[in-house]
């Protein structure tokens, strides 16, 4: 994948390295080709680019020094946590510094009485819950990548997980941030309180994809572990029955902790990999987790079982114990790598749609899958309507990636057309810039650029990502709407 970038003046790389070495030890400044290679992409490996240098600071002072240099020398700076992002957000820039925050992994403070933890950005998501488990507490957002991804990356992407349905996204589960701006200021946003004075910068920073500032400290909210958990699996012969069961559960006033959907391709891939005990022939399964007290769970289980029956479930399985629950979840959580085993490459989409449009959107995806001759596995957060179609392909086949991108682009545009969005949790990054032109008009995009200017008027932090230029949208639009015809003429419009 070729990436277009504005031409930049040739840089004196040696000079920059020397300047960086005044503030960082030699092992924290990588600049030889073979050292840079491991950092050339994030979780979206279709896009690759080596940076000028990689910096691996382990203190605030070092980060400040790097940012000062970036500002003085006007060199772009791209932040990176664990590099598990799926939209190319942490993709390096050829003439830029890659600021890797993974070494900042101290848990600075655990306050069980106020139910908060203050951590550095490089702390892995799961490490927080592990560190506070002995207090009976945990950090709720649980992206499937939680053993690897960093909390800093989670904030930058506003990441979700299977338990978001009940417990919210990252934005609902953090209380404070310390942010360094490119002009050298330290912003202390929030803390251990439930609100703070001035504009809601906590919300604005969450999901800002490294464009507004570098997040150097996070105060997260901790929740008490639920008393009990039950996981119910239901298998369906028809996808529309599974989709309608999802709406019925929510409509019955039950908010499950998680409600996940897998289609046959995903079921088979997961089953072959993890042996979770999924019915291999089902068209779809739903995994429903409920939590609460013993009698409450029993009540909800009965209600949910009834809803599954009414929607013609062929099989309903209640996990008998904790290890069976874990086994049922293991298949879902490993679905991406499981699909990775059956195909040389896969491309993960991330649109969100209103729940009641699930069936028609899935059908359209199936139709396109046939048309493009690219298989698709669907595994997603059904309760939130957040789809993750995985398009299977082989990057070594000439032209295949281009077809995947076209197919994927169509799926995202379909999401927008049914009243949804192009990204539910993976971010825009480098990947969905064109679809941003579909989601937003020029006034909104200009407003986003003005927000960016309010923090970074020199456009040094992760430039070119997340928000497309109006120029790019004009070009994309010209390519896109052929002869003034709107896409999806057969679909109902808002």
């Amino acid at each position: 994948m070729e990436i277009e970038l504005d031409p930049q003046p040739a840089l004196n790389k040696a000079g920059l390295v020397t300047a960086l070495l005044e503030h960082l030890p030699a092992h924290s400044v990588l600049h030889h080709d073979e050292e840079l290679r491991p950092y050339e992409c994030d979780g979206l490996s279709a896009y690759r680019q080596c940076p000028l240098v990689v910096c691996l600071p382990d203190s605030l002072n070092q980060i400040q020094a790097i940012m000062r240099l970036s500002h003085e020398w006007q060199i772009p700076l791209v932040a990176r946590g664990a590099g598990t992002g799926l939209s190319g957000g942490a993709l390096p820039l050829e003439n830029g510094i890659l600021l890797c925050l993974a070494k900042l992994k101290r848990i600075l403070d655990i306050d069980p009485h106020n139910r908060t933890a203050r951590v550095e950005p490089g702390v892995r998501n799961i490490a927080i819950s592990e560190a506070v488990a002995h207090h009976g507490l945990y950090y709720a957002p649980d992206p499937s990548s939680q053993i690897a991804c960093t909390i800093g990356g989670n904030v930058a992407e506003n990441s979700g997980g299977v338990h978001c349905l009940k417990y919210g996204l990252t934005v609902h589960n953090i209380l404070g941030l310390k942010v360094l701006t490119i002009t050298g200021d330290v912003l202390e946003i929030g803390g251990q309180t439930l609100d703070s004075a001035g504009y809601d910068l906590l919300a604005l920073m969450t999901g800002s994809e490294g464009l507004l500032g570098i997040i150097v400290e996070i105060t997260v909210k901790l929740l008490p572990k639920p008393e009990r958990v039950q996981v119910i699996l239901a298998a369906f012969t028809r996808i529309e029955d599974a989709a309608s069961a999802v709406g019925d559960i929510i409509g019955a006033g039950i908010i499950p902790a998680g409600l996940e959907f897998m289609d046959n391709a995903a079921i088979r891939a997961a089953e072959d990999y993890i042996h979770a005990g999924y019915p291999r022939d089902a068209a779809a399964i739903l995994l429903c987790e409920i939590d609460g007290g013993k009698t409450e769970i029993e009540e909800h289980s009965r209600q949910i079982e009834k809803i599954f029956q009414n929607n013609h479930a062929d099989e309903i399985k209640h996990a008998a114990n904790e290890s069976e629950q874990q086994r049922l979840w293991a298949g879902r959580k490993a679905a991406f790598p499981a699909v990775g085993r059956i195909s040389p490459d896969y491309y993960c989409m991330d649109g969100t749609i209103p729940r009641h449009r699930l069936t028609e959107v899935l059908k359209q995806i199936t139709a396109w899958s046939t048309e493009y001759q690219l298989p698709v596995a669907n595994v997603f957060h059904a309760g939130d309507g957040n789809l993750h179609p995985l398009i299977l392909y082989d990057a070594n086949k000439p032209g295949e990636l281009e077809r995947v991108e076209e197919f994927g682009g169509k799926i995202l545009e379909l999401c927008v057309h049914v009243g949804g969005t192009i990204t539910g949790e993976h971010g825009v990054g480098m990947e969905k810039l064109n679809q941003m032109c579909v989601q937003f008009g020029k006034h909104e995009l200009s407003q986003f650029h003005l927000i960016k200017d309010a923090f970074d008027s020199d456009n040094l932090l992760n430039p070119g990502k997340a928000v497309p230029t109006l120029h790019r949208c004009a070009e994309f639009g010209a390519m896109h709407v052929h002869g003034g015809k709107m896409p999806f003429p057969n679909l109902e419009r808002f």
């Binding site: 609902h172 912003l187 809601d200 604005l204 409450e296 749609i353 969005t421 941003m436 407003q447 986003f448």
Partner: protein, 352 residues
Amino acid sequence: MSDHSHTLQHQVIDAIQEHTQLCITGGGSKAFYGRPSAGTPLSVTAHHGIINYEPTELILTARCGTGLSEIQDILADQGQMLPFEPPHFGSNATLGGAVACGLSGPRRPYTGAVRDYVLGIRCINGKGEILSFGGEVVKNVAGFDASRLMVGALGTLGVILDISLKILPHPRQEITLTYELAAENAINTVNQWAATALPLSASSHDGQQLYLRLSGTPSALKAARTHLGGEVLPDAERYWKDLREHQHVFFKHEEPLWRLSLPPATPPLPISGDCLYEWNGSQRWLRTALQANIIRETVARRGGHATLFRGGDREGTIFHPLTPAMKTINKNLKLAFDPHSIFNPGRLYSGL
């Protein structure tokens, strides 16, 4: 039920051209909140009506001038509710005002704040452009979160036209338990309980008694009650409503009323005046004639911030002063949305 977006847009464009400032007004129930703002009144109440309500999607979109009570009645018919239990402070309260003020009620620490449930906002910025951010789906990370930025901005970033909210089913049952406890003990107790899996949905302490509301299925409440003891409060719904609406006797006094936001487990502050605790201790109401700087320093030392909620010097600083760095960013953001500074000048901070 009518869409006045374009009328309002023209009024904004006129104001830009005539270099006049606008004071955005909804029902006026929260006119006391913040600093008095200069400018010609721009009434938004005619922009009224529910645009979309889908109970099974748990989504509602309404125009800013729609009455809060109207919305709550329609939700109640379907067994649903606004999860952030917003204070009305008057029968004329509108949704737009509730969102612009960003105030949440007793359920806040357990279920979330206004901003947590705002999914999308359509607004007019200070260039007279109609912009649409977010949408009607719960998970959406496309573009900066401009919708949530508008919550609590007191109209200084633009005219909020339409708001999409996530809503929740109303709990099947609620009960309130009371305990005779001194403040310090109450704060400790309630924070210990909040750290265990109990169906808490509100707490308060009035100096003598701790009040604890539980919400959930009848069986969950029964189980929790055995564990928690306490006395059942009759007419509890009334109690929480009075508290939320500042109709409780605590609020019927002349002294300035401060709202303190603190880490919940902070012990009672060494500060003179009467204090009422909510949100596990995270929100405290203080009635005192004490000087602003003493209050602010005391609260800031404990990681909190203080708002002069009612009374006192309304022309002075109402919200907690910002650090220079935060001031710069707030000012830059204001100008990013409202380059001619026409919306609600001075309402949030002088000069913003």
